[in-house]
Every structure is written in structure tokens, then in C-alpha cells.
Symmetry: C2
Subunit: 342 residues, 2 copies
Amino acid sequence: MAVTLQQIAEAAGVSRGTVDRALKDRGRIRPELAAQIKQIAQDMGYQPSLAGRALAMAKRNLKIGVILQSAQTPFMKLVYKGMEASKQEVESLGGNVEIFPVDGVDAGKVIEIMEKLKEENYSGIALSPSEDTMLKKVINQFTEEYEIPIVTFNSDIEETKRLCFVGQDTKQSGRTAAGLMGEITGEEGEVAVISGHSSNPALNNRIRGFKTELEKRFPQMKIVGIQYSYDDEWVAAKIVEELLEQHPQLKGIYITGSAVKAVCEALVHLGKDQDIKVIANDFLDENKGWVEQGAVNFLIGQDAHMQGYEPVMLLFHLLFDGEKPDSEYRYAEIMIKNRYNL
Amino acid sequence: MAVTLQQIAEAAGVSRGTVDRALKDRGRIRPELAAQIKQIAQDMGYQPSLAGRALAMAKRNLKIGVILQSAQTPFMKLVYKGMEASKQEVESLGGNVEIFPVDGVDAGKVIEIMEKLKEENYSGIALSPSEDTMLKKVINQFTEEYEIPIVTFNSDIEETKRLCFVGQDTKQSGRTAAGLMGEITGEEGEVAVISGHSSNPALNNRIRGFKTELEKRFPQMKIVGIQYSYDDEWVAAKIVEELLEQHPQLKGIYITGSAVKAVCEALVHLGKDQDIKVIANDFLDENKGWVEQGAVNFLIGQDAHMQGYEPVMLLFHLLFDGEKPDSEYRYAEIMIKNRYNL
DNA sequence: CTGAAAGCGCTTACAG
DNA sequence: CTGAAAGCGCTTACAG
């Protein structure tokens, strides 16, 4: 049977309330007594009961808000599942989690929701930000002026006072792709990069990681093109065609973003899908299909579930236990999948 | 604010106890009333409070025992950490978890501990079994006669009534290695397998998965040897030497078990460590070192933490919520690591 | 500075 | 078949 506050109180010859004040440094207690009680608690191996704590705290009605941009994308739908898991866990412990999905990227909408959450006395907010000057300002206002902690996920937003970022180390993801590409092409030959929007910081980081690592570790390899599809299938297909025309020896393609389908279809059309090595990102069902039929050799992924689950749990632990995250960055593990471990 | 039993009781015009009996199918209630209450609960979106439940259940003093064989090995030390995490979680919810490490493989010792746990009224047991006829018998006796549920982890034990197995799909792990080996050797040439004890079922499954997949998918590749080191470094080194002597064209080595260090040192000694592609298992610090310096190209791993954490949580949910595991097998994800995502 | 008491949401004998 | 009450371990006003 675990040690309880009551038992410590008896051992110390004081009341439960006093033990609580001592252990939690709530003040209003003689320092010597506090020290003595702490010692007794430690000797008895006291571990506070989450259940008791949660029940007593339920009166406070702690509320956490989550704002999810680009909620309509397949990846964010996976993130959403992670949020729901954390929502259930927190609510079974007496807290409250509300999720606000936003279609597409809309900083104004995000700010609007944030203001509403403030009105309704939310204690913490998790959000997937977009690059926006006004949003940065509002985030800082919330954390500093209103003292509402903010956790960013999926994309980070620089130069803000957000408590923590949960997501992928995108540059490292690019490096991982480079390491794989080198291994599967025999460490020599021509490869190309196909990206999405040229303004997407995450994709650009992947490109940067890929490029620097490939140049550093595999000097015999050459990147013959870095092209942007702007998420347009026709453009992506065109890029592939021209690439293969100009570089018939092309050995591999690294797809940083969302053009997987168009690229694979173009390769199939040209009869090259089993020859050219393709490395792509994210474990979406569609991408998995391309791996299974051999058009994509490897998928590199971020754990989507964790990106939904962790931000809420970090806030919960902060608000509930006062426990701050160990680090400002909570990186998702970079996972490598082939057809055998999808 | 979440819906509580009390609120449902008021809505239904009955007492809390009655609602509880209806929702939990505890009997002693008019079926119509039960159905009606269930309907109301659903309409109100009732979610039971884990905190309230845990606190009320604390009186029962639910105890879970964990028996960990080969506890001295580096891998099992990682598993142990996972157990400690689950122990803390369960205990903060009013349960009790005791861990019993056993050095080496000793079925007699395991049985002895199991008997003790039975004496002390433990409600569930997690254990890492070894192949042993007597142990199988005892496991069945516990599950059937004593009705103490048992979860196996790390290794499974066939033909028993254990509730669930938590661990790696070893055959799939071998297949994953085959897929990687094919990709990084250009899908042709000679490769070898170096294993540990020839009697280890897990290692044999990896070999089987590797062999069948390689033959099926890469007909141009040839396995020129499957050798056993019996966990002896000298033997492992000797195997490598002879292998390279007889097969100077050897392109890759798949290490199923624990001879990583000896194999890598032998390769370094022969000046072949950067040429020969090596795929090994498990994310031990030592193995990571070999990846970093390039002697090992890929590590395939099982999530050790999860193998310690899940068995306890499965038992806890079973005993606490009556929630049975979805499947008899709870496989750890197969992870692929190179130097960039270690 | 210290204590006594109410209450969080649930389960469990116990009474009827 | 149904209800009233005690208690799980903690926090939080409130009294002194």
C-alpha cells in the first residue's frame, strides 16, 4: 500500500493540511517544521497519488485549447487523432480539452480563436502556427502579458516566447534522406530533388539538410536539379519528364513534399518506376501504396500521432503539476520505412 | 465540465448507485430501467472519470508482478526502464507493481517467483519466458486454474493460454533486413548471415525471414553462408575471416544477434569495414557506435521501452477496466536506423 | 503558523 | 430491485 499524506501527518504529529503545505512549498508554515516533514515524507517513500490529485483539482476546471491549421490535409488528420487521444486522457483526469480545426492556413482566424479562448479563461493553448508577423506578436502577448502558455506543433515559429515546439527536425530529416540515397545508389551518380512551394520553410530545411549531407558524405554524387511543383500535379509530372529527358542517367529522386502521386505516376508512365530510386516523406496511406508497389523505395516520416498527443500532455503537466518540459524542442523521432515495416 | 454519475442520476430520477449498476451491468436492477439509464448516459455524453474510479478502487490494492529474465543484458536494461515508467504510472493510480529481475535464463527461478506471487495474491503477471516444458505447464495452471492472467514479453512461448504477447515480429524483422540488404547492394551479389546460438528461436526466425525474402525478391543475390557464433567473440571473428577468404566478393553481412562487436572489429582489422555492408539488430549504445563510424550501415530495432511499458499497462487495463487487449499479439514497431536518425 | 472540514467522482458493502 | 452513506487521497477555502 502506497504512503499517503495522512500517514505522513500521523508520523509527523501534524494535520494533513500542514503536510501538504510543507511538501508543496505553499508557505504559511514554520521552515523547520517544513524541512522535518519533507524528510519524513522522503524516508517513507511518499509518491503523490495522481488520482487523488486529479479529483481534487477537478473543481478548478482547467481548460486547454488546441488550434489546428490545415486541418483538412491527410497528415493533419493523423495529428488530429493524437489530439483526440490526449483529450480523452486529460478529460478522464478532470481536465478539459477543446480542439479547433482551421481549414487551410489562416493566421487571422487563428488569432480570432486565440482571443476567444482568452475570453473563456483557457489556461493553455497548443497551436500549429504559420509564418505571420501579427501572429508572432499575439503569441508573445499571450505568453507574457496574459501568462497563457503556448506550445507550437508541426511547424515552429521563430523568435517567440512559446513554451515549447513539438515536431520534426526537418533538416535532420533531409540528412537522413541523403544518407539513404547514397546507400541505395551505390554512392555515385545523379539525383534530383522535387519540392512543393519554394516558400515553405520546412521543405526548404529538408532540401538544405539533404544537399549539405550529400555533398559532404558522397562527393561522387551530384544533384542535377532542385525543382518546385507548387503542389500542382501537372507541374510535378512535367518536372519528371524534363528531368529524365535531360538526365537519362538519373538514379534517384528525393521528394520533400506532397507531389508523390504525380511523380510516381509520371515514372510509371515512362516505365522508370522500378529503376529510379525514390525517397519521399510521410506515412500517408497513398504514399504507403506507392511503397508497396515499389515506386517509392523509402518513406521518411514524422510520428504524426505524437505531434497531436504531446502538445496537450505537455500543457497538462505544466498546468497540473507545474512540471516544465525538459527542453524547448520536443522532436519527433525520424522514422525510416520500407515495404516491410510500414 | 464533464458529465458525472450524479448528474445522470438526477436526470433519471434515481440514485448514483443505481446508475452505476445500470452502466456496469452489475445486475440487481430492472432491465427496462437499466436500458433507460444507459440511454440517458449516452445522450449526455457520459465519460467515466479515471480519477474517481482509480481512487475508489485503491482499496482493492491491485498487485501486478513482473518477472524479467536475462535482466543483466543491455537490451533488458532498456526494457527495465519501460517497466519502471509503467510502474510509476500504475502506482500513481493506486495500483501496485513489483519487478523481479532474474540474471540469465532460469525457468526454475521464474516458476518459484510465480508461486510466491500467487501466495501473495497478485492479480496479474508479466514475464519474459524461456522455452521450458514445466514453465508452459505452470503458465497454463496460473491462467486456467488460478485465473491469474499472464502476459509474455520479449519472447513468446507457444501453446500456452497466456493472454497476450508483447514483442517483436522477428520474422518480419528478418524480411526488413532482406529488403534493406537488397537495396544497398544493388540487388545482386553474395551476402552472409552471422547468428548467435543455433537454438535461439528468435534469431532463427530472423534468419528465416531474411532468407525467404531475399530469395523471393532478389533472385540475383546469393546467401553464401549462415554461421553461428554462439555468442563467442573469437568464433565470430574467425567466421568473418574465413568468409572473406572464401568469398572475396562478399557484399554484405546480416548479423541477427549479439556478435556485432567481434564482426566489426574483424572487418576493421581486414580493412573491409567501409566496403562490406552490414545490417545488425538492436539500438544498444555499442551498436550505435559502430553505425556512427560507418562499420554498420543499418540497425534494425525493436522498441525496448515499449516492451517493458506495455505488458504492465495491458494487465492494468484488464484488471482495472476489464478491457481485454485487441489482439493476442502486440508487436513492437520495426524501426530502421542509420547514422542520421539514431 | 496550524487544523478541521468539505468536496472532487467513483465503488462498495449495507439496509431496506 | 433501489437508495443512502462511507471512503479512496488530495486541494482548498475557512477558522482560529
